[in-house]
């Protein structure tokens, strides 16, 4: 027995000793390009296609040795889902895609996968595919217009194709004259009744909010079908229908001013797209500036005070004071009257022009949109034409703005301190008498490998029942100077009142 025990002990010892020997391994590492040499190129990151149109993609497969060696898969998955996992839908097994788009309007992931039949290694590429039901659900200019009785819009896409009377095509013209228009790219909610009589909430929809002097429509941007009219926007319809402005922040926080009252939607909580009022004894200026994350800046004409409307709070909040050059400025009970205020898209900046009630001159307030309240206050000379304007346009970052003077002139205004008052404003555009400037927008898009950049001032005019859209190139990103020869001019029928540029 002793001998057996010794043998067992020896075996254990040998195993123990051997386990300490450094394991050199028997792996052989290979270059990934040896295993899968194929590289997929020539596919755009984002594409927009209209439902039932042909989607044709011919990918460039670099280092292709033998096409027979691989399998090819094209499939789509919902881009955003709620309460379930995205489902895969195979659409082709060909090397090149030639597919008649039969998908619900909305965002999809289009995935292209090339797999080596022998070792099952694959490479893939993904496209953010925007399926639209209507050709107007894409980048471009929207011209909100009316004929004196009904409101409609025209659309010019990025390629310059013109679509006329988009709402008329659907029988959705709004009564009244055109006021403003907003595009909400995500987080719009709407309840529908399905075929079984159940209430179903559509989530994460994109929508156009269109305001006329007598109505407000929220329209599904994918289908150009009505989501809500004015009455359906509210839990309790206001006595007076006087839509003034509608704006939204990035996460679906939306603000609607009607008859001097502001209403809101908290897009981050469960909702059905209806707005709730913000309590207070106030009467607001019609336009607002989105700021912060879930707030907007409003001006109360009753107390001559700027306030914050917060999508999380049911009453107006005081605006933080501004500390600048050892002085503290309050925005409560101001001795100024608001001349004009407006802001760029969410995440850019806004300005308020105010006239001093007690003396000549005024002030220009600036907010950078990511800050709650104003970030600077600058004096405006008493002779400045800025103090009589009713229309502003401003770049995304640089500290200058464009304003309308009279009916047909555009001025630039540089807000830098070291410029003499007389040199701050310059007349840059004059249109023929009778051509009324109705809307101005600054548009900026950074150049990418796929798309050229945009740095333009757009001016909408109207005369004799027809509109004209002028696009001017700016000479730089931090200067208001423009090439006064328009890069493009479009024109159409109707009184153009409001301009919206959609960049996505």
């Amino acid at each position: 027995m002793k001998t057996i025990t010794r043998y067992i002990a020896s075996v254990f010892f040998l195993l123990l000793a051997y386990s300490c020997v450094d394991d050199k391994g028997n792996y052989s590492y290979l270059d990934p390009s040896e295993i899968m040499p194929i590289q997929i190129e020539g596919i755009e990151e984002e594409m927009t296609v209209q439902i039932y149109n042909k989607l044709q993609i011919t990918p460039e497969l670099k280092n292709m040795d033998n096409p027979e060696k691989y399998t090819y898969e094209w499939y789509v998955m919902e881009y955003v889902v709620a309460g379930k996992a995205p489902e895969r839908r195979d659409i082709s097994n060909e090397q090149n895609l030639n597919y008649e788009v039969n998908l619900d309007p909305g965002l999809w992931r289009l995935i292209y996968k090339v797999t080596d039949k022998q070792n099952n290694v694959y490479t893939r590429a993904e496209v953010k595919l925007n399926v639209i039901a209507s050709p107007v659900d894409t980048q471009g200019w929207y011209i909100l217009k009316d004929d004196g009785n009904e409101t409609d819009f025209d659309f010019i896409n990025a390629e310059g194709t013109y679509y006329k009377d988009v709402l008329r095509e659907q029988g959705l013209q709004l009564p009244g004259t055109a006021v403003s228009m907003e595009f909400q790219d995500q987080r719009y909610y709407h309840n529908i009744i399905d075929e079984h009589g159940n209430v179903v909430t559509l989530v994460n929809q994109s929508a156009f909010h269109i305001l006329s002097s007598q109505e407000t429509y929220t329209i599904n941007s994918k289908t150009i079908q009505l989501f809500k009219d004015f009455e359906e926007q509210f839990y309790q319809t206001p006595e007076t229908c006087k839509p003034q402005s509608m704006k939204h922040n990035g996460s679906g926080f939306r603000f609607f001013v009607n008859d001097g009252r502001v209403y809101k939607v908290n897009g981050m909580s469960a909702n059905v797209g209806k707005v709730s009022p913000v309590a207070g004894l106030y009467n607001l200026y019609g336009n607002i500036i989105t700021c912060g994350y879930k707030e907007c800046l409003v001006f109360d004409l009753v107390s001559h005070s700027f306030k914050l409307a917060d999508a999380y709070v049911d009453e107006l909040l005081p605006l933080p004071e501004l500390e600048q050059n050892d002085a503290v400025y309050s925005f409560e009970n101001m001795h100024y009257s608001l001349v004009c205020m407006d802001g760029g898209p969410y995440g850019t900046q806004g300005y308020a022009v105010m006239k001093d009630n007690e003396s000549e001159g005024g002030i220009l307030l600036r907010t950078n949109n990511r800050t709650l309240g104003f970030t600077s206050l600058s004096p405006i000379d008493g002779n400045s034409k800025l103090l009589t304007t009713d229309l502003l346009a401003m770049p995304n970052v640089a500290d200058f703005l464009y304003f309308k003077h009279g009916n047909n002139k555009v001025y630039s205004y540089e807000n830098a301190k070291d410029i003499a008052p007389a040199d701050k404003e310059k007349e840059i555009l004059t249109y023929p008498e009778g051509e009324l400037i109705t809307s101005m927008k600054y548009v900026f898009r950074k150049a990418t490998d796929e798309k050229p950049g945009i740095n333009q001032l757009a001016v909408l005019t109207t005369s004799a029942g027809n509109w004209k859209l002028y696009l001017y190139d700016l000479l730089g990103e931090s200067t208001p100077e423009i090439n006064s020869e328009p890069a493009k001019v479009y024109e159409g029928e109707g009184n153009g009142r409001f301009l919206l540029y959609r960049n996505n």
Binding site: Y235, V265, V272, S276, A279, G280
Partner: protein, 246 residues
């Protein structure tokens, strides 16, 4: 070494032998019991009922108390025994005056666990007595033993149901409605909320956050307008505490 090896072998043989013996499981013995349901977001340990929101023509109203059983379901209706534990005490509900007695022919067949069920909503029918306009009536209940059930979970054997014809604080105010109307509560504030919003069902806070915001903003607006119309006399509770939505 030998001394160690033999006992080890013996023990191993013993384990092998006993390992072959059939394992006798404990068999469940049905012992039905009954208790009041208590959940985080549903029924808690009490229900507050009020006739205040109803038209004067309404003379009775039913509150449903959920009871659950332990044990196997049966293929026949099983009556349960509900006992009032505060009889004779101040504010105690009086059978026949404030509520329909449990042995009333109209209720007798409803105070039971129906066949095949393990849970039931037991109706408590409150009567709108004039005394409810002055003072709240309390019905303290417990589950008793009968031939079908014994009392179940110790901590869920008692339940309180109250009724009145006054404005009363909703049971879920401090867990739910305070996020809409603020944590303070008083009869005057409650009346303001009801009058301005028209809301009378406070059993559940709405899931639509915008509707909840509408309720809040509408009530706040009513308070602001009242106070603006009554300078130096802001809306107050009976004890002089100003109404706020904080």
């Amino acid at each position: 070494m030998k001394k160690l090896i033999y006992p080890t072998i013996l023990a191993s043989i013993l384990f092998v032998v006993t390992g072959c013996e059939e394992n006798k499981m404990n068999v469940y013995k049905n012992d039905p019991a009954i208790y009041f349901e208590k959940t985080t977001y549903g029924q808690r340990d009490s229900i507050n009922h009020t006739f205040y929101f109803y038209d004067e023509s309404i003379t009775d109203d039913t509150v449903k108390v959920i009871v659950c059983t332990m044990g196997e379901p049966a293929d026949y209706d099983r009556p349960i025994k509900l006992i009032q534990t505060n009889t004779g005490q101040p504010q105690a509900a009086i059978a026949g005056t404030h509520y329909v007695p449990f042995d009333d022919p109209s209720l007798k067949n409803k105070i039971c666990i129906p066949a095949g069920q393990v849970r039931a909503e037991i109706p408590i029918v409150f009567l709108r007595d004039n005394s409810l306009k002055l003072v709240e009536s309390r019905l303290e209940l417990t589950v008793g033993s009968n031939e079908f059930f014994r009392p179940g979970i110790d901590t869920q054997r008692n339940f309180l149901v109250t009724t009145n014809d006054l404005i009363s604080k909703p049971t879920n105010w401090d867990t739910s409605w305070k996020y809409t109307f603020g944590s303070t509560w008083g009869p005057v504030k409650m009346k303001l909320i009801i009058d301005s919003t028209g809301l009378t069902d406070f059993s559940q806070r709405p899931s639509d956050s915008s509707y909840s915001n509408w309720l809040s903003a509408t009530a706040r607006q009513a308070l602001l307008e009242y106070n603006a119309a009554h300078p130096n006399e802001p809306l107050c509770e009976a004890d002089g505490t100003p109404v706020t939505f904080e």
